[in-house]
Structures are given as C-alpha cells and as structure tokens.
C-alpha cells in the first residue's frame, strides 16, 4: 500500500503528472472573482468562504478521471487486482495520493488566497480547518466515481454528474463552517457534521469503489 502511494506521488510530481493543475485552477477561479464582481470589499467579504469552497471543490473534480484511467489503460489495474493487496487498499491509497496531491495543497493555499477575497480575519483558521476536514471526503467520493467510470472513454462528464450530488453535503457543511467562522458565530454543529460526513465516506466508500472496480475489470 505504501509502495503504491509512493509510486503515485512520484508519478504526480514528474512531468505530465498533473500535480499543479488543481492548484492553478483554484488560483485562477479565486483571482477572477474580484475582477467579475468588482473590488468592493464589503461585497466580497460575505461570499469569500463560499467562493473558496466552490473553487476547491471544482479543482478537486478536475483531476479525478485520471485516478484509475491511466492505470487501466496501461494494464496496471489488472495486475494490481491480482496482487496480494486487497482492492480496497488499492483504492484507499489511490484516494490518499489524490488528496496529498490536490486536497492538501488546496488547503494550504486557501488562506493566502482568502486575502484576495477580503475574508474576515476570524475566518482564516476555520477555512483551513474546514478544508482539511472536507477535502479527504472529496477525494474518497471521487475515487468511487472514478472507479465507476474507469472503463469509459471520455468518462469525465459522467464522472462529474455522478460525483457532484455526493459532494453536496461536504460543500454545505464545509462552507457553513468557514462562513460561521468568518462571522464569529457558533459552528460546532456544522463542524461535527462535516467531520461525520468525511468519516462515513472514508469508512464506506473503499468497499463501494472496490465493488465498482471489480465489475469494470471484467
């Protein structure tokens, strides 16, 4: 499992691995919003948490279809399925690698980008905490979607349609934590629900994704 994680991380940072894609997309979205809405800080501040969350979510979505497609094309997935490693662990380490290469960097750059949107000072820690808690769920749900669509050519559209509804709870509670944090309101309920969604997803999705993958490998 560690070998697979290490290989995926090595592949991601080498040329053509698509490591910077999600980050660049996130940056572009956040930079463009003030241009579109105007530089009025009183208008930007209230929507900043929501925009940052949507940006992070869409950036996550961007690289999902590569998660299994590349291994499927070059035959690695067949070989991994016959390896002593259970398919569930393959999926877990793939999702972890995806999180380390997209979710984690997005979480880290979200705070500096919050400045561009005039996020209220109280909101920064909560934005980072909500992204750190929420993005693992995005990667894990994405792994499930990628496993479902792995055999399809140009499966990206179907993947987005399948995955987006499943992203909604994470988006709602994640953005709620960031917004309430920025407004200085009580946010424990939203925070606990966000963490709950992530835990449930990480616990259940590997099995669902492994079942989907087995069908697609036939």
């Amino acid at each position: 499992m560690i070998a697979l994680l290490r290989r995926d991380l090595a592949l991601a940072v080498r040329a053509g691995g698509g490591f910077g894609l999600a980050l660049a997309f996130f940056l572009i979205v956040v930079v463009l919003v003030p241009f579109a809405l105007g530089p009025d800080t009183s208008r930007l501040a209230p929507i900043a948490p929501g925009i940052l969350w949507i940006g992070a979510l869409l950036a996550c979505l961007l690289s999902l279809d590569r998660m299994f497609a590349l291994d499927f094309e070059d035959g690695s997935l067949d070989l991994l399925a016959t390896a002593p490693l259970p398919l569930e662990s393959v999926i877990l380490s793939k999702a972890l690698a995806h999180w380390v290469t997209t979710g984690l960097p997005l979480t880290l750059v979200a705070a500096p980008l919050g400045v561009l949107l005039n996020l209220a000072p109280a909101g920064y820690p909560w934005l980072v905490i909500s992204l750190a808690l929420g993005t693992p769920a995005l990667s894990m749900i994405g792994a499930f979607g990628a496993a479902l669509t792995v055999g399809l050519k140009r499966g990206g559209l179907l993947l987005s349609l399948l995955v987006l509804p499943l992203y909604v709870p994470t988006l709602i509670f994640g953005a709620e934590v960031a917004r309430r944090g920025a407004d200085g309101l009580a946010l424990e309920t939203a925070l606990l629900l966000l963490a709950g969604v992530t835990l449930a997803v990480v616990a259940a999705m590997p099995f669902a994704a492994a079942a989907a993958l087995k069908i697609n490998l036939r």
């Binding site: 070059d74 035959g75 016959t82």
Partner: protein
C-alpha cells in the same frame, strides 16, 4: 496445483467457452492454442480471478502472477523503479537485479520506460513476473514483439521457473521449445444460447 473442471466463461455477456477441464501440476506448463477470438484471453482472465466463471470450478488458482496484453509499465518511471514497485506490491520478496539480468535489461536499468522500444517494454513486463515471486504464471501472448534472442531468454526464464517448482498456463501461437502440454481450446467453443444474465450485463 491448478485444476479446472467443466469451466464455462463469457465475454460481453455471451458464452464463448464451455466444458473446459484440465489440470496443471507444479513444474508443468500448459500452452493454450486456438484461433483468434476463441476465448484464450477470457479463459486466462477467469483463471486470474479478474472475471467470474459462468459455471464450473477453478481450484488452486492462488498465488498467481498474470501478464496480459498490457505490461503495466509506467512510462515516467525507470526500468528499475517499475520493477521495484511491483516487487514491493507483491511483498518485497522478489529480486530486482536477478530479473534485470534474466531479461538482459542491465544496460537499460536507469532508462525511463517511455524511451524503451516495444520489445524492450515487453521484456520489462516479463521481468515483472520474476519479481512477483509467485509460483503460478498466467501469460497471455507473452512473446508479442519479442525478437528471436528475447524469445529464447523468455524460454529460459520459463524453464527455470518450472524447474523451481513453478507452473504456467500461457496462450501463445509460437513454439517456445518447451516440453509443455498443448491444449487446443477450439473444441470447447460454446454452442449458441441465450446470454446468461443478459439483464445484469446490460444494466451494468
């Protein structure tokens, strides 16, 4: 080691082979022959556990290493890195340097797989079998794009594997000079019948 009894398998929901029975003992190799599209690949995938059998029993298909049409090589990793990865996935017991020697990849060890020729890639894919340390090989057209010298290398590797108590089932059209039984799968061609689980397949 492996025993197959009255096996039927399907491709795309349509049965293509039925009533296949054979046994492979340790130290033996079985060569599958038959025209294109008869179901050699499907049979191997069923044996590898990648797809379920329609009916029949497969026993002892454990600890296997499967090599299909695709080599499972990452273009951006070097030859050694590719082999080390598969060795780690299969428990880290395989010896990468032995595999590199066996398939004459020594001069290419640090080369990125993207820069290898088709035959060199195939050699790397076959070297992967050695690092898995698995006793039972399932090989699908292992000699595609290999030159004569490399085919001989592969023949030596299979012979050494069998001598070490391993076993192999392979689908191939060329003569490897192995003392192996040949199973012609053409007589097991399934008679046309309604697709089993047609609804299921259509839904998925």
């Amino acid at each position: 080691m492996l025993s197959v009894e009255n096996l039927a398998c399907a491709r795309g929901g349509l049965p293509i082979l039925e009533g296949v029975s054979f046994e492979v003992k340790a130290g033996e190799a079985l060569i599958l022959r038959g025209p294109n599209g008869i179901g050699k690949t499907t049979l191997l995938r069923v044996l590898a556990g990648l797809q379920p059998a329609l009916e029949g029993r497969v026993e002892g298909a454990e600890n296997l290493a499967y090599a299909g049409h695709a080599d499972g090589i990452k273009a951006m990793l070097s030859v050694t890195e590719n082999l080390e990865f598969w060795s780690d996935v299969f428990g880290g017991t395989g010896q990468v340097d032995v595999a590199v020697q066996a398939f004459n990849l020594g001069s290419l060890a640090d080369r990125r797989a993207a820069n290898l020729s088709a035959g060199q890639k195939r050699r790397l894919g076959l070297a992967r079998l050695l690092v898995t340390g698995r006793p039972f090989w399932l090989l699908d057209e292992p000699t595609v794009s290999l030159d004569v010298a490399s085919v001989a290398l592969f023949g030596d590797a299979v012979r050494a594997h069998l001598a070490g108590g391993g076993a192999a089932v392979m689908a191939t059209h060329i003569d490897l000079g192995l003392e192996a039984r040949v199973l012609d799968v053409a007589p097991y061609k399934a008679k046309p019948r309604a697709a089993a689980d047609a609804f299921d397949e259509a839904f998925l």
